[in-house]
């Protein structure tokens, strides 16, 4: 491979835009073996790899890429799984461009290595070839651990602890495990079969997954301890939707992003009436917000037959919190971006269904606490938008149920649980927490990183407890 070739990334095929806006199949198609080989060959195998520092769980990136280059795909997947139990998920949804790939040295003179695509390739190869179930490693005293919530944080803790020989029971309040991976991120970005395969893997390892169990209602944390659990991990996420508190918000056709995405992804509303849960999408959909959640809701609307879909965001294009790739996909698909715009009121028809949205134009003022320039309303710039469906995607806070029903668990004024950065320990003995319930809405990989730390601490805690040292 010459210098010029080395500078250029291997593109990944995407479903054609004309087709994909009418279906829920995956947009990005993944690398073929040849493409993966070519991309892996570009990697310089840096002795001091900067990419690894950019990765929140410090995957040995050159090592897994080297295995791909040499055609050892199973070994590559195994290398990934030493650090990350959900590589097929992370290879698809991690914000690589701000993490590993941002640091890659090749990025200085050309395109960085497409680390995410390679990760996805190795994980998909292994899943298609058949995953081998590792032996349990029983070392030292084993304990019984309850995990609350089955999102990426909980799944990571469960996998890590069962491999170390502990008995693990996972409680999930919904009827499927997987958290946001299952109910939030749409099929065309993360096929549910892939999430299900990861959950099946965790079940095969021996984790008892109990769906339909809402902790705080059926058992409290203290009742779990009374039932003989040695330690508890809380990974209940940030599932409570924020609303704007403006007039007309309770009209029909105004959804929280969570309701919208749950109806679509979890309940398969796009297949109504074959599936029983309806979803109604009008001609003109406005999605309020600019994160991944907003992009997902907007792109779902298009696929469900909306004619015009708007992203309405109060800051500017550069400040969109969504992954660049997803914002680009959305633009490509024809989503209209109304930036520097904020809704102030919704209006409805006589049947109580939303039929319009009054907005105000914004401009950027001084930077605020987050360091971003603060959007300020331009007085008198109000205008109406003709919409018949609105999705509010302005963030989520943690579900308060466990915090409300557990004595001695310290929380912040935002409702997040206070947990140590390094050990994931909370203020209550034997209780650990991580993921969005601690950080507030964040990313899959940060939830997994927290899960990894928690599993290590829980293992140490139980060993100490059992051996009385």
């Amino acid at each position: 491979m010459d210098r010029e070739q080395r500078k250029q990334e291997t593109p990944m095929a995407k479903q054609d835009v004309v087709d994909r806006i009418h279906n829920f199949y995956e947009v990005a198609l993944g690398y073929t073996e040849e493409q993966a080989q070519r991309e892996a060959t570009r990697c310089l195998q840096c002795p001091n790899p900067r990419c690894v520092q950019g990765c929140p769980v410090n995957i040995d990136i050159p090592a897994f890429i080297k295995e791909i280059k040499e055609g050892n795909y199973r070994a590559s997947a195994a290398k990934l799984k030493e650090f990350n139990s959900l590589p097929a998920v992370c290879g698809r949804v991690c914000p690589q461009e701000n993490q590993c790939q941002e640091q890659c040295v090749l990025g200085k003179m050309g395109d960085p290595i497409s680390i995410g695509r390679l990760e996805r390739f190795a994980a998909d190869w292994e899943r298609n070839a058949g995953v081998e179930i590792p032996e349990k490693q029983v070392e030292g005293a084993t304990g019984k651990v309850a995990i609350v919530g089955s999102g990426p944080a909980g799944l990571t803790v469960a996998a890590d602890l069962i491999k170390q020989g502990h008995e693990v029971v996972m409680f999930e309040s919904l009827h499927y495990a997987g958290g946001v991976l299952m109910y939030g991120i749409p099929q065309f970005r993360l096929p549910k079969e892939i999430v299900q395969a990861e959950i099946d893997y965790i079940k095969k390892l021996g984790v008892d997954v109990k769906t339909n169990y809402t902790i705080g209602r059926i058992f409290t944390i203290d009742e779990l301890f009374a039932d003989g659990y040695d330690a508890i991990f809380i990974g209940s996420g940030a599932g409570l939707p924020n609303f704007m508190g403006i007039e007309g918000e309770n009209l029909g056709g105004v959804y929280s992003a969570n309701e919208y995405l749950i109806r679509i992804n979890l309940m398969k509303g796009y297949l109504f009436p074959e599936y029983d849960t309806p979803i109604r999408i009008g001609k003109n959909v406005a999605v309020i917000g600019g994160g991944n959640v907003a992009m997902d809701a907007a792109r779902c609307s298009l696929r469900l037959g909306a004619e015009k879909v708007y992203i309405v965001y109060r800051r500017a294009r550069e400040q969109l919190p969504a992954r660049e790739e997803e914002a680009e996909n959305a633009e490509e698909e024809g989503i209209i971006f109304n930036l520097l715009t904020n809704p102030v009121k919704f209006t409805g028809d006589e049947s109580g269904w939303v039929n319009g949205m009054e907005c105000i134009k914004m401009e950027l003022g001084e930077p605020d606490a987050s360091g971003r320039r603060r959007p300020v309303a331009i007085e008198g710039s109000n205008f109406m938008m003709d919409v018949d469906t609105v999705v509010i995607a302005i963030g989520q806070t943690p579900n308060p149920l466990i915090q409300r029903t557990t004595d001695g668990l310290e929380t912040t004024k935002w409702g997040t649980i206070v947990a140590d950065d390094e050990t994931a320990a909370t203020s209550k003995e034997g209780v650990y927490a991580g993921g969005d319930v601690v950080s507030g809405a964040a990313t899959v990989i940060s939830a997994m990183g927290a899960g990894r730390k928690a599993a290590k601490s829980i293992h140490e805690y139980i060993q100490k407890k059992k051996t009385g040292q």
Binding site: S173, H175, I262
Partner: protein, 278 residues
Amino acid sequence: MFKIVSKEEIAPNIHLIEIAAPDMAPKSHPGQFVIIRIDDKGERVPLTIAGVDLQKGTVSTAFHAVGKTTKEFAKYKAGESIMDFSGPLGNPAEVENFGKVLLVGAGVWCAPLHYTATALKKNNNKLVVVCAGRTKNDMVYENQLKAVADEFHVATDDGSKGNQGLDFIADILKAQKFDHAIVMGPVSTLKKVVEMTKPYNLKTMVTLASLMVDGTGMCGACRVTVGGEMKFACMDGPEFNGLDVDFDELISRQRVYLPEERMASMIYEKLGGSVKRG
């Protein structure tokens, strides 16, 4: 899978169903609800708990077969299983020694009302109970409610038994002083009774059957305005003081999926009312 232990049609189209749920039974209280999902393509349907049997480890609920899912559920027989049975959800009803309590139940809701009434009776309350139904043949839990009541009234929409309509409650309220009231029934009934208790500023707890999806506080579909604030019926309720509830907004939100529900029901009927799916 959750097994149906027993099942009975207690009035036309109203079914009482008992489901094996040994972990759930000891944790369930009056006022809480469950969510059922019959099969893999099914909708999540909330139903109020109507009783538990701790010995058998079962939870009972009564439901009215009104739409696609509940009509399908009505076909299930004892011994068969449904896919999901999640609960208990929501907060338990307030149960303490209030003194004299007015209880009003309409239709299928008389079954869960009996569960609450029994708990109130254990707390030595005096109970004035109104059991309402569409006609004399549609009465649910009449005898059971009568058995716990200190004073008992029957009402039917058509006057075929007892009082016609619920207006007579205004007279009861005029004649007696109450410390607490509980109403369970369709939203129209809740609204009507609250209009009568409002002049006395009588705290009137109502169970709000708003539209729900998850039932665990994640979707906001169940949002209702109570005392000018946004509340989630599944997490903050489902029982609220009716004097503070914006019923008109609730009624409007409940109608949101009417066209889709009608379509699903129609397709279901056309298919001969059978879609048992693997």
